[in-house]
Amino acid sequence: MTPSRSSVPTPEATPSQVERPSQPAVQDVPAPAAAAPLSPDADVLARAQAGDHYAFAQLYSLHKRRIYSLCLRMVGNVAEAEDLTQEAFLQLHRKIATFRGDSAFSTWLHRLAINVVLMHLRKKGLSLISLDEAMEPTPEEGPGRSFGAPDLSLAGSIDRLALERAISDLPAGYRLIFVLHDIEGYEHNEIAAMLDCSIGNSKSQLHKARLKLRDAMRTFPRREGRR
């Protein structure tokens, strides 16, 4: 029987810290000694799939930072990223029972969150097929002028905060591909499938995104100095 869901606990504590109700919300989770060894995450997942609200809150606590950071990097806006994080976890709540373990849970949740962001971007009118045309920079600011000038090279070092800021300043189409490939580690064929574009388009967008970032990183100290 599905336990009562009238009260959803706060997610702030780690799994081991969460105080359980005196009557366990889920009766059919096997005792650890009798069950196959489960990672803490897997145990929490199993309980959340069975409808345990405390476990769902723990899942939120365990994954909120990664999902929020993913959303924030993809959309570059705190309010939107929070809304998308909320929507991703609501979808997780609706769909968690359908997770069958074909991939790691974190991978599954990650993909679910990406789909939420992509749906959002499509609703906003960002064409994910014609990113090249939509995001083609103007000639004076385009990456075409970024042919390497050795005296302006990054000299092998990058300030992490500066890179974060430069990524958030990228045009949406560039940012999307860059985040998915260079930060989240998806391959071009996976990105092409997700975005319904060609592999060549994905590669081209990535290259242009990196060029834009290079321009931004090279001017970063001067921009900071003016503030």
Binding site: R5, E82, G148, L154, E164
Partner: protein
């Protein structure tokens, strides 16, 4: 074949660059790079950016408001009568 690659223009080489960076391929060994200071500097910078991006990690938590809204939405959804 090597001569053809060596004779590439910068534009031709840079069209291939996205497929070389981050794939494990040693793009710096490309004949064009070995003979072109501009593309060598560009390749170095883009590899630095790609490497730095791989080391970025989640750094921010959402505000407490997000969980509060999730909680409220879940309770509202569960309070609705079944569609069946």
């Amino acid at each position: 074949m090597i001569d053809n690659r060596k004779n590439m223009s910068c534009e031709e080489f840079q069209e291939q660059m996205a497929g070389l960076i981050g794939t494990g391929a040693d793009a710096s060994a490309h004949p064009h790079v070995q003979n072109c200071d501009l593309c060598r500097a560009l390749l170095s910078d883009l590899e630095t950016i790609a490497a730095a991006a791989r080391e970025l990690f989640p750094v921010e938590d959402p505000s407490d408001r997000v969980w509060q809204q999730i909680q409220t939405a879940i309770q509202e959804e569960e309070g609705k009568p079944s569609a069946k």
